[in-house]
């Protein structure tokens, strides 16, 4: 489809180009910042890199960052693989319950879970530790301030996303491949090891790499556990460089610090794309897939229940109860007769006055991010799947590159950009800077979602409108948008969920007037106002729960 009035294509290209400009500006600014002294634009220097080289603790932090990525991914697969298998390939009777648990857990942001575990298992005053001491006499049994706990909590929180990511390829697995192996005389074990595993390996590998990238870049857990526990990883070092107690923030050095992380993520993205292409090739091999054979769990029923129970307890029930308990008690204390007598709603009353500004800001942040992200990604996807000329493919590729930039570095780059361009574009310290950064960050996901949906819909639907005399604009509005509406809706729901929970970017960019719920919780926690942090967390969980349940129908297509 190469014909058509240039006007409409031009309009969409202009919209898509503005996204490209933002992505390109973000990447360029990150590089420029790393060569700038302090936060001064354009005074080229290599000092930051020299400082980085001489920085004590850089190599241990890099090693630990890598370990956090690997550890999180390993723990994650221990949960996500069995769950995906149970949901897609077995006749387990309680799949609905498992899906609901996974969806509900999306409503608890990772930093809230991390907070809950700090309240439970910090070595000095953790509720859980004190309970264990009172009951069994074990003092300071758990120490949450460890790399292992960081990995474990991240894995707990990333499990649902990993399951939802792997589920389609597990479900689409052509079971005639298994049947062919069976009728060719291969046993069940051999079939699993030699047929099923190699076929699914690229999809599982791609998921593992994707979550490795996520695990090294998210700040939620390392921010809450790592910083007070003096466990340094790259993201905490970047954060502390921009939030110094003495002197102004050093965005130049922060960008330089982030370069190894950027390299790690970029390499991860390349491996991810390579694996994804392999997975696609396998998927295309079989034309008509039959529904997978659902196997009886048999004697694996008990281990399945144990694993689900273990995960649900640690990822959903314990964090939620801890937050609820903390919100009702004036200071951290284990449940006791005395504590019960002190239960009160006083922290709720205390929070009531603080709530409106963060709530309103969060709503505006979410709405703005979605609006920008959808307008951009719809334009990019239409161009990339319908016009498909060289510039359109380039736009699509550049937009996807944003995936390789960790959220924290995106924030550093945008902050540096806003500082530099302050005289011309007054974005510094506004909510719009946060919105812009979040929208750019969301593009990789939203364009992928819309692209795959648009590719499945044959272009003849739109061509039929053109040959019946309907203009480009009308066809776009009346045919293309309605037909990919389910994908748009899905992208909107996921973006809502992600942007409402997002801590990293707002935390890096907010000013006193633009604090959102997540940053408020983080600050309350950091200043020891645990009960108020807990009340805000409950509010956030309530909002997210509604969105998560709304999206359940769409994240998990019916069987």
């Amino acid at each position: 489809m190469s014909t058509g009035p240039a006007g409409f294509v031009g309009l969409l290209r202009a919209v898509a180009l503005s996204a490209v400009v933002c992505v390109a500006a973000m990447l360029t600014m990150l590089v420029i910042a790393s060569f700038s002294p302090k936060s001064e634009f354009g005074a080229w220097t290599l000092a930051n890199y020299a400082d980085l080289w001489n920085l004590r603790g850089l190599w241990p932090a890099l090693g630990r960052t890598f370990m956090v990525g690997v550890g999180t991914t390993v723990f994650l697969l221990c949960f996500a693989l069995p769950f995906t298998w149970i949901l897609s390939r077995t006749s387990f009777a309680w799949k609905g319950l498992l899906l609901t648990l996974l969806t509900v857990s999306l409503a608890i942001p990772a930093f809230v879970t991390a907070m809950a575990y700090v309240w439970l298992f910090n070595p000095n005053s953790g509720i859980g530790n004190r309970l264990l001491e009172a009951t069994f006499g074990w003092s300071s049994f758990f120490n949450v301030y460890s790399t292992g706990w960081i990995c474990f909590i991240q894995a707990l929180m990333l499990t649902p996303a990993a399951v939802f990511m792997m589920l389609p390829s597990f479900r689409n697995f052509d079971s005639t491949l298994e049947e062919a192996a069976a009728v060719s005389g291969l046993g069940a074990r051999k079939t699993f090891l030699r047929i099923i595993l190699p076929t699914l390996a690229p999809a599982v590998g791609a998921t593992a790499i994707f979550f490795f990238i996520l695990a090294v870049e998210i700040f939620d857990v390392v921010g809450v556990i790592g910083m007070p526990g003096n466990i340094e990883v790259v993201t905490t070092m970047v954060y502390q460089t921009t939030y110094t107690v003495y002197g102004p923030p050093d965005y130049g050095f922060a960008a330089t610090l982030g370069m190894p992380l950027l390299a790690l993520c970029a390499a991860g993205v390349l491996i991810y794309l390579w694996l994804l292409r392999r997975a696609d090739r396998y998927a295309m091999l079989s034309g008509k897939n039959r529904a997978p054979i659902l196997r009886d769990l048999g004697r694996w029923q008990v281990p399945a229940w144990l694993l689900i129970g273990f995960w649900a307890l640690l990822a959903v029930i314990i964090p939620f109860l801890t937050v609820l308990w903390t919100s009702l008690t004036p200071y951290l204390q284990p449940p006791s007769r005395e504590a019960l007598s002190q239960l009160s709603l006083s922290s709720y009353r205390g929070v009531a006055g603080l709530i409106w500004s963060p709530l309103l800001n969060t709503l505006m942040l979410v709405a703005g991010t979605i609006a920008l992200s959808v307008v951009w990604s719809v334009s990019v996807s239409w161009l990339a799947t319908r016009v498909r000329a060289v510039p359109d493919k380039a736009i699509d590729a550049i937009v996807f590159l944003s995936l390789a930039v960790p959220g924290m570095l995106a924030a550093v780059a945008m902050q540096f950009l806003a500082l530099t361009a302050y005289q011309w574009v007054p974005l510094l310290g506004t909510l719009w800077l946060i919105v812009l950064t979040m929208a750019v960050r969301s593009l990789a996901f939203t364009t992928r979602t819309l692209n795959s949906s648009a590719l499945q819909i044959h272009a003849s639907l739109e061509e039929a409108a053109y040959v019946s005399g309907v203009s480009r604009t009308r066809t776009f509005v009346r045919v293309f948008l309605p037909v990919i509406r389910p994908a748009i809706l899905f992208a909107v729901l996921v973006t809502t969920l992600i942007s409402a929970r997002e801590l990293t970017i707002p935390l890096m960019l907010y000013s006193p007037n633009t604090s959102v719920i997540s940053t408020t919780i983080f600050d309350l926690q950091a200043t020891g106002r645990y009960d108020e942090a807990a009340v805000f967390s409950l509010l956030m969980i309530a909002i997210l729960l509604v969105i998560a349940l709304l999206s359940r129908r769409r994240t998990v297509p019916a069987e």
């Binding site: 019946s468 045919v479 509406r485």
Partner: protein, 379 residues
């Protein structure tokens, strides 16, 4: 059918070339061909998959941009490479039925038909939309499903909605891209007649693409056989069936036996051929110019071969190698003169494998066909 004094047909393409890739040296899907479709006729493009017939149709619709040549519809230039004219599809006086039907899944039957009328540049005045939709809905017996979602319809019903949507626009030119190929065989055969009848009753000029030769022969007023981006022959179904102008067309249409031959004599329309079976008289000479000593192909259709008792002109001896009984007819594989012949005979000629028979190749059914360059006379 052509209007008096009109030299150009309703659709004419000249020196049209379309390539797939974007680079200059990409292979051409359509290679500098000329086409002329007369007003009111059903013109079929027939060819094997990949021959460029759909590409040609899409170029006429404006969905694919050609590289060279020109296209005029109803006397108006819609594409001209030299003048850099390229009218977008929404402003060409056409309507199109897609192979996939391309019904808009979020609209009902009524809305699918009404949408182009309401929103399109070639639509109807507001007050007339309902009447126009009702007209085609009645015409295609869709009134019972008028408000149903198109996704709930069967393939045959969807096909009718697609046709109704196209006809409601009252196009000057109707384009149909393998509209029946997604239906099961029985329905296909039934709909061929219905579509043919409907289109000729309305009198709309139609360009119809198919790879199915039976469909093409049954539906066409005239058809063009395409091969590798070129049109090999244009004519009525009878002309193409009886007088193929090339080996390709002879092989593509019908079940033709073809053998290498040499011309030994020319007598008016008839030629004498030296064939693997000996001397044969062929009354149907499809060669542009026949000279004694030229090589060509000798062709006879499977259903034109007869089994006889007596010797005579054009009677050859053969052995039955295999006989396949298929009810109304029997298919034979026969060996003669070191060659293999296929014949399809009425079931009254029931001969078992291994028997020796005499075959009568009637001169009026024997063709002298030009060789395609490079084929060597073999499939």
């Amino acid at each position: 059918m052509a209007r008096g004094g009109d030299h150009e047909g309703l659709l004419s393409a000249s020196k049209l070339a379309v390539s797939y890739g974007r680079r200059k040296d990409s292979p051409n899907a359509v290679r500098h061909l000329d086409l002329d479709v007369r007003e009111g006729e059903m013109f079929v493009l027939l060819g094997p998959s990949g021959c460029g017939k759909t590409t040609l149709l899409r170029a006429v619709a404006g969905l694919q941009k050609p590289n060279a040549g020109s296209i005029a519809i109803d006397g108006r230039r819609v594409y001209d490479a030299a003048a850099a004219t390229d009218v977008p599809p929404e402003r060409r006086p056409v309507a199109m039925v897609f192979q996939s039907y391309a019904l808009w899944p979020h609209m009902s039957v009524f809305e699918n038909i009404a949408f182009p009328l309401r929103e399109g540049g070639r639509g109807a005045p507001r007050g007339e939309v309902d009447a126009r939709v009702s007209e085609v809905i009645d015409m295609l017996s869709l009134s019972a499903m008028r408000d149903r979602a198109v996704t709930t319809l069967s393939g045959g019903q969807q096909q009718r909605v697609a046709l109704a949507r196209a006809l409601a626009l009252r196009p000057r030119l109707l384009l149909m891209d393998e509209p029946l190929s997604n239906l099961d065989y029985e329905l296909q055969v039934r709909l061929r007649g219905q579509v043919r009848e409907l289109v000729s009753r309305i009198g709309v000029t139609t360009l119809y693409v198919t790879h199915n030769q039976n469909e093409a022969l049954e539906m066409a007023d005239r058809l063009a056989v395409m091969d590798a981006g070129n049109i090999r022959q244009i004519g009525t179904p009878r002309e193409l069936y009886h007088r193929p102008n090339s080996e390709f067309v002879a092989r593509f249409i019908g079940d033709m036996n073809l053998f290498p031959a040499r011309i030994t004599g020319v007598a008016g329309a008839a030629v004498r051929l030296d064939t693997p079976f000996g001397a044969i008289r062929a009354d149907v000479n499809c060669l542009p110019a026949a000279e004694v000593g030229d090589t060509c192909l000798f062709g006879i259709r499977q259903e034109d071969i007869e089994i006889v008792d007596a010797d005579g002109e054009n009677v050859i001896g053969a052995t039955v190698e295999r006989a396949i009984f298929s009810g109304d007819s029997i298919s034979y594989r026969l060996a003669s003169g070191g060659e293999e012949l296929q014949a399809r005979l009425h079931r009254r000629h029931d001969v078992s494998a291994g028997s020796a028979v005499r075959l009568h190749l009637r001169p009026e059914h024997c063709l002298a066909v030009p060789l395609d360059p490079g084929s060597g006379g073999r499939a």
